[in-house]
Symmetry: D2
């Protein structure tokens, strides 16, 4: 090793150069993860708030801009992570794809079926990868469970239950601009249902608005129960709450003919028990970032590795579209006050249901 | 933002340039962590096995060498991580310190009290930081527990129990070269005892060699119980096993006058339960790398941040020496078959106990 | 204490003299409990299978008969426990009440609303106590939870979930003769929903028959999900399975505005963990008798004490009727494939739904 | 069944007629259990406090007396349960045995080895059963664990840990009259060690008195750690505390070559979790009567059945003596400040250690 100091540098591994558009909570988290990810070089971040963009860029050693177009046209950028409001997703995906950039986009891909179809078509036409932010598919707990389900350890599925609750609701602005509760919140559960069990054939939704006048049964519920019937015959429920006080909860149970699996029964902040005259106490996980910090890292690492290896991404645009269509049907069930049969993906027509309208549409 | 593409690069944050000596299991893990750590630039790795060094250097984008001296003399290196066999620690620390490099060293700092004193003196004389690899002090669970103990929530400590078990013993070569069981294995628990409760005033050791002829009660036990009496009056036990079959276990209980805390009661590999006719089952953590991947990252990140900020490191050479001296007294208790009073750190003389002899010394 | 040997006998406490009709699984268990219950004297047991009656009577020191009428007319009997098939309940209650006997009857009180009304009226007219076997109301876990809910610790209820599953289905004979799944199985959960949260205003049922051709979606399901909306606005689900393989499960969660309570998260057969290379394992409760042995004892002890003290019983005939009516509405929802509004108890008319027909009716 | 009302009475099963001497906390509990135990008839209770005896006798339907001799000489009494202070045990056992009564006695059998030997000899000479109140041997959790250990599922034992803690210390009077801490409190753990693992060959004791001036390291500790070495080579610890605030704890771990078992990891008062902003909370078991209500019933039922069937009792006088001798050796270790080799039962000579002296002796 004559030239020890440079020998290792002769063939550095290729890294994916990534730009991030939208530096809200998720975008900032994604940018920080990308900056510490060996197969990635974070090169450009963008937010319409100049100070936010400039500050994060300085911290992470990236360029910055206030105009998303500058990221899209940056020749150094191989791939773009989109974490802007939903109403901008579809157009940004199309622009990025047209520029030959691979895309990782937060869910949902758009506010209407058409926006979904346009985004998927743009990526397909350009031959770029399009991955959607269903992060649970990258969480080690969920992956471990799914592998064993897939290996047949569970047998046939009979029942499915999943719970997604947050400690306290987001801001009024967020709620009023986020579109359908199902498309914004429940969509993660709808994806998990498909991923763990299979396609859904019927959906029934029940909601309530109980904690604050802001919440209403029909429009912006704070509690929801969705019953699904799967094509395989299994039944399932999704339980959502925006007011779970005790913490952030994301847990699932799948009951099968041979075994039952439970994910997330034990969501402690720390593996620490306090015992006193007041009882035995553990702290509960409080926020999604606490629960899923590995998953948020892994979904982007998986995206980068898939792009670098020219392999398919793990969560496709079609997956995003199908979960969105289930959310749309849940909204329709709510309005019709009865179960709604879920049509196969080819049969759907442009929906006019409320779930399809964002405030900006 | 006229020059968006470069604006963020104008003032990149200063990063600590680190070299790693010794690319065994811990050294490789440390190198990979350093390579993905924003405040660090991994610049040089070294191992006497050329292929190992070359391969890891290529993967992580660093220079490599087979001679530790090249890391020590590399002018780009600000700090060195030492993960070689114990018998080399003290001399490497002295060499690095003489070269003005900050040092992070795996425990213990040496095989004898003299080696400890030499290493500590070298770092002090050179004015460099010296941090020791007691990683549990950086684990979020332990930190959370200690903060609340320090805040007085526990009251006075009455009892302390800690358990460290591995699933299966290391290789015969490792066992025969690692020196005293207490200085190699129990030392983490001795440090945790001091960190959570305070100084130890008396120590009594009990061992057994039960699983294999390789293990003997006196020299290389596979089971050990150490009883400590703290200066504050509290009693404690340390439980060690090399043959815990079910997994890697590292857990602690501190019983106080107001409350009791338990760390590590719930060491699941995944937050996944399997229920079947065979019962309710979870997988147990199997290895230290699984349990402490955050702690191993955080101890180096803490080291880098302390060095960059010119602040004291969290685990000092004196901490390492004191834990080593307790290990020495445990060995003496074993030989004398009675409790041994632990002298204050100033009073100790060069020990001739077996614990002070490595095979290489 | 001159006459020590008899002093204590001078004023023995009054004991309730009880007869048991129907010595199947529950009846035998009730009889054994009654025989060891200080405030009770078991005096007479009856089953149409002479050998069963004779054998149990001998073991427990009671008289026996094959004709229920002999228990009803036995002048020594103060109260009768009825554990025969449902189709006989109403007539037996009426006969017992006419004879001035207090009655404890297994659920449901009958196969039709009319049978319920007749039974309740008979007890009212005779001025005897009528208690129904909703045993969970006597289980210490459920009682502890309810007390704290009632004390306001939970705040307003937002969500309710309850699960009742058995390890394997009962015999074909049982299933085909037991009437509606909801009236036979779900009825316990419908009662618990009312007891913990309050009256139900809407009910929607979903079922499946998946494990065996014996089970059909409409008639004899093996899986069921029932969604309830409470008068207070809260939403709830009931999950039932006849094929849970891993054991008997009976658990509940109530999510409130201040806190959430979970009952039965930890249904271990023994407080024993086994750790091995196969993981950490506990045995799950397997049968209702294992789970509720205290509750089955306590409901009868509570009945005896209420009768002896001339106080109201804890679970009234009206409670039984209301749970039955909810089961009837669940069946109607299944047939109509939509939510069914649950009418107040005064408004109901004689139902013709399938839930109202036992095979014997 | 012509004569239904009497048919069942023709051959009532034989019941053991039992008297209870000493109606303190344990004696009252035993009496209440005996009164509700089908194979037992409680016929006589005795306490030097006349009102206590009279009141309990009236409640339970038994005769009463203030003089234990009246129970011993009561011709109706087949067996006597002794729950008086330790200093009276040996003489009462001898008197009962001389009268041909079977004996169940609380631990320990006496204050000295001689008292133990006398009691055992008296029972042997009279040919009556003598069972000792090591109730854990009858608890379903412990029994389930031991059966699997005995079946070889654990393999060879390597480590044993057991914990016995009470929430708060007993009264000063109790502590000052109860004799050695080890003979009064630790004795249950010493018995469990023998029962689960086997004979002990060496014992080392460590104590502290920390919570109150009443407690002293040497005489009346409030914290204790005992290290045992078993004849099979395994190591073990016993942890005792009188000040565990959070509740009553009784738990054990046995680590073996194949598997590890943990008993009592989950000592919830109720299977109820409360989740709120303050965390996830369960209530801990608070007292031995809460934890072991089944065991206290079962040990007496087991005694009654063994006597009625002329079979050996499950816990012999020799078991009690051996646990007492281990307690004596623990006390000697404390005084000598070193490990004490435990001699085989035949080799012991009359001990003069403090453990052998009750205040009344």
């Amino acid at each position: 090793m004559d030239d020890a100091h440079t020998a290792g540098m002769s063939c550095p591994p290729r890294r994916l150069r990534v730009g991030v558009i939208g530096l809200g909570r998720m975008g900032s988290l994604h940018a920080a993860n990308l900056a510490s990810m060996p197969p990635v070089e974070l090169v450009h971040v963008s937010d319409e708030r100049e100070e936010v963009a400039r500050s994060l860029a300085a911290t992470l050693g990236a360029a910055c801009s206030t105009d998303p177009g500058e990221v899209v046209s940056d020749p150094r950028v191989d791939a773009i992570v989109i974490a802007t409001p939903t109403s901008t997703h579809s157009a940004l995906i199309s622009a990025a794809a047209s520029g030959g950039k691979h895309v990782f986009c937060e869910k949902p891909l758009g506010c209407t079926p058409r926006e979904h179809r346009d985004a998927i078509a743009a990526a397909n036409d350009a031959g770029v990868c399009l991955q959607v932010g269903f992060h649970r598919r990258f969480d080690p707990d969920w992956v471990a469970a799914r592998e064993r389900i897939a290996a047949g350890e569970l047998g046939e599925v009979y029942l499915f239950h999943t719970t997604l609750r947050e400690r306290e609701p987001p801001s009024r602005e967020y709620i009023e601009s986020a579109g359908s509760f199902f498309a914004d919140f429940t969509i993660h559960d709808l994806d998990i249902a498909r991923w763990l069990v299979g396609e859904v054939s019927e959906i029934s939704a029940f909601t309530a608005g109980l904690s604050d006048p802001l919440f209403r049964e029909s429009d912006h519920p704070d509690q929801a129960i969705i019953v699904v019937r799967f094509a395989c015959g299994a039944l399932g429920t999704i339980d959502n709450s925006r007011t779970a006080r005790y913490g952030y909860e994301c847990s699932t149970e799948v009951v099968g003919s041979h075994a039952t699996v439970r994910i997330g029964r034990n969501q402690q902040r720390h593996d620490v028990q306090w015992l006193s005259e007041a009882g035995v106490r553990v702290d509960h996980i409080r926020e999604f970032a606490e629960r899923y910090y590995i998953a948020y890292y892994s979904e982007l690492e998986g995206f980068a590795r898939a792009v670098l290896a020219s392999e398919p991404v793990a969560v496709s645009g079609e997956d995003a579209f199908e979960a969105f269509r289930l959310a749309t049907d849940a909204q329709r069930s709510l309005e019709l006050r009865r179960p709604v049969t879920h049509a196969g993906i080819e049969m759907e027509a442009e929906s006019v249901s409320r779930a399809g309208r964002c405030d900006s549409a």
